[in-house]
Point group: D3
């Protein structure tokens, strides 16, 4: 099963937070994994966007992304410069076309992306763009789409059927949890201290908690969007 996997993330580190353990496991099992990161992940710190001023931090973050994905076994990281936390200022069509280009390049069998109910506007937009870019027409390479959770975005929206993350696909990452944690360490600038959901310890607890529910030691949880087989 040498499948190709494409992870489509809104910001650097989302790909590790959302499915780092699964990436590491799939890569280890012989899949080719690619990561596409749409936004630069930095400029929302300012009241109005000033990409120039944040040039260096953006470069650092891209470097961290390279290193983290390297640890996971990802073959290639594609990065773009959509404005951090301001995807709603960009025509959705531009994001769709960007994803389509990479997708046609990679021809993935499996796509992982954000949950449509996330609080974060960029996550929502990414999901929507992926859905359009991967329409199930006759010769579409993409056969499986799953969405992942991002601690501190997915669980902080209103708890209702419209937004809640209700996973049905659980990947045993008992053997790759350590690799995920190592990859996350590369994202120094993004991590928080415990008990923040994006601290290393909290992320480990999350994997264990899903594990308990599903009878594994450590688990990443996903929602099946579509499987064609």
């Amino acid at each position: 099963m040498r499948k190709k996997v494409l992870v489509v993330a809104a910001h650097p580190d989302d790909e590790v937070l959302g499915c780092g353990g699964t990436i590491a496991r799939f890569a280890d099992e012989g899949c080719e994994v690619y990561t596409l990161i749409l936004g630069e992940g930095i400029t929302s710190r300012d009241d109005s966007r000033d990409r120039h001023k944040r040039e260096e931090e953006i470069r650092t973050l891209k470097k961290e992304a390279e290193d983290a994905n390297n640890i996971l076994g990802v073959k290639k990281v594609y990065t773009f410069d959509f404005p951090d936390n301001r995807f709603d200022t960009v025509p959705l069509l531009d994001i769709i076309k960007t994803i389509e280009k990479i997708k046609c390049d990679v021809k993935p069998d499996i796509v992982f992306t954000h949950h449509q109910g996330d609080l974060n506007i960029d996550h929502q937009t990414t999901f929507r763009a992926v859905m359009t870019a991967c329409r199930p027409i006759k010769d579409e390479s993409v056969k499986e789409i799953y969405s992942f959770e991002i601690p501190s975005s997915t669980e902080w929206n209103e708890p209702c059927s419209l937004t809640y993350f209700m996973p049905d696909y659980f990947v045993d990452i008992s053997k790759s949890l350590k690799v995920k944690i190592n990859a996350l360490k590369e994202y120094e600038t993004e991590l928080r201290d415990f008990p923040h959901p994006r601290s290393l310890k909290a992320l480990e607890l999350n994997a264990k908690q899903w594990g308990i529910k599903m009878g594994f030691e450590a688990t990443e949880a996903f929602k099946t969007i579509r499987i064609r087989t």
Copy 2:
């Protein structure tokens, strides 16, 4: 029952795909049917919108719309130039005001429009604008609103309660299916080959499939948004 019907569509051909058989039947039974098409339906093919470059194709498409609606028995087609697949770059209020103007002109009893859960951003926006334009205040002419499906947009979103098309209103189009198919043929540039959902044969199968579920030969399916009687 000489009611007035207004169909509000995002793009040329949506009105036929979504409710062409019902239009033809209602027109045949003495209703006055009007079609409002909001977008030009062409310019999303380019990476950035260039209306000028696509002038001729837009004109052709408007001509096809005239002819197709003519076949269905529509009294008048209103067309506007909102940017194809980029309705999110326009203030929602502009679209609302556009619909309101036509609505005040036509004074329809019944409105058909898109499903709010469609994958296509223009479809979603059209639905939202219609809902605001047709608020049920005291002297509002609109008494019934229904939403329709568009093959290859409605069924390709995430299958969840937030987006899924769950129709409850089924119109027998056994006698008008042929007219619908003929109208669609006018939209030469928009049709695809079987098995694409927007091929003539796939559209016929869709009508038969709803028919089987509801005990008719051919059926169009809608979701009741509001009936006041």
Copy 3:
């Protein structure tokens, strides 16, 4: 991939209607498939249940089940005598324990069963019992659970998020559709004339309709309940 599959159906013929094409394909690809049919499928015709009176019809139906499953390539059919369309008169726990016993015998990797939103009370009960019988504890063999639709039950409930069938897992049955149809022919007593949803032609149209939506020639549609991998 020599996986074991268990199909849990409420009545004889549900297993073919719901996933006959998939059974045939999986069996052909080397899976071991088992069918468990809980109810006798006959006695609801009488105002009060009289199993004795219907003895012969029940026997005939079991014979048809054997033959149909044989055609699909099923290794073994387990049948029980829960009262047709009266599963609500039986303690749910009895049905759970019945499924558990067969499940422990077969040790399936994959389970297919009814959709919890079906109009038919036996279908609903079967789903619930399966969910309890296959809890994801540590050494549970069942790794995947999917639910299927049954034409003329699944689509005739109230169309709402509580009940609607919103599939996300689509199996290409282009090559096995013919086998499914042949298996269905064995259930002579259960088939209806077109345009009833349970006529041969309607079933074929249904497979083609899902195919159109998913880019295959013929498809069976399922909802992912849980995948652990």
Copy 4:
């Protein structure tokens, strides 16, 4: 439009509470309206059912039902003796068969019944039985099904998508509200004092409240279950 209407209610008075104004209006406009009341509406007052002990109250209540429906213009009231608030002790199939018999007798075009999300177990069961009894097969007379609310049952369940009453069909009962109130007065034993939701004043307020939302003086609200036309 001389349509036939069948109202299927769980208990005496539900038919008036749920759709009394609509019955009166439709009857006034020339429809033939029939009422089917499934339960006796009394015996749940005792810890265990004692029909004999309550014989007289049951007879009184049936008399009130006759009188109330008479006021509304109903042609005939069918009553049965299913055990009050204990429909879960009866096989669902028995209730389905009862409804089927009356339905075949009346051959209604339109059916009104309870909301499936009501707190009351008999209301829920009635809805389910109606859905099965009125399946949309080819020669089925029933073309429209709507569900109604019952003050003090519909609004007292958990407020979630699974149970909430979200109406989309609004009938102007400005002219028949008075008749509804008069019919309710016949059910002396069932009414409560204001501010109980089943007091006359509260019921009037409810009709006015829906009216305000929909631009009428007084309104009854329903949920469209299915329209075939």
Copy 5:
């Protein structure tokens, strides 16, 4: 219990319509209440926004807001100039940052804001911005968030689980209903005549209607978004 309350409203008068009775009661019981109004509430009357032209009306409306909130016992009203009914033309992040600033100033325990399913685009956007601005991190002051309904926006969207207002938190405003009505009278320019949902009489009926359902004389209804205690 001297808690601090922050009401976040999209337009002047929403704070009174949505939770005026609760504000008055809480203020009376010793809470400090603050109101934040994001939009100017006027310029959507023009086809394209002309703030200058509407300068005076905007000033009048702000004055009315001051007076109305004064009557309710609000300590301070913060107003901003986001474009009326055109919040979708502003980056969501700008609105988030605005709310965050006021929130850090006030340090509220409780926040009331719009329902995410409202038809009005500004209401929806306000809800989303509040959710991000009040994330439940460790030292966040906000412990409770509730959403309110706005007559003539909340009830006029499509009636589905995605949008419907299903309240679970009911505040007895029997004693403060009069104050709410008085505060509303200050918003002369915004009120409508009965039977419009935003007439004084309709608003009173609404409070009584929720009261009937919950056993109080007059009630405001809210949806619990989050309580941390």
Copy 6:
């Protein structure tokens, strides 16, 4: 705030699993807490119920319940003998009347009970019975109702809006987690080994996991059913 709290649980130990930490905290803060346990919790182990055979285990379990609740600070435990995992064989009305009696005795302000979407049939039935027993009529003592999760039942149902536990009310149990764990130890016969969700370590992880999401050290999560204030 010396409020009265009633916990309604289906089986012995559910009250501790679901809200043990909250009970301990509320009792410590001066509330009077009562526990009502409906089922005997043992006899489902047999293929058909034999209460006599299990007499002693039932007595042991009741003793454990007494001890566990004692540790939590509960004033009184009411136990009944409804058949374990066979609540569907009892008329719902019997369970309602049982709860009503205790409720009238205790006159609680707050009720905690099961989540209606739990996989376990007794949990579901308990929720429904509580909702009817605590209808919000005028002089009803119950002002607040919340539902809790039970590890290994709540998370093992189909993950859909119909069943998923989406909490909105979070109680900080940092100080009482230890008491909860101690109370659980009394239920020796019910505990499982890690990684089963009902092991001591898994329960502790669960409390920490909700804590991380809500900014506390340890948390119990509930869904608000209704608050009247």
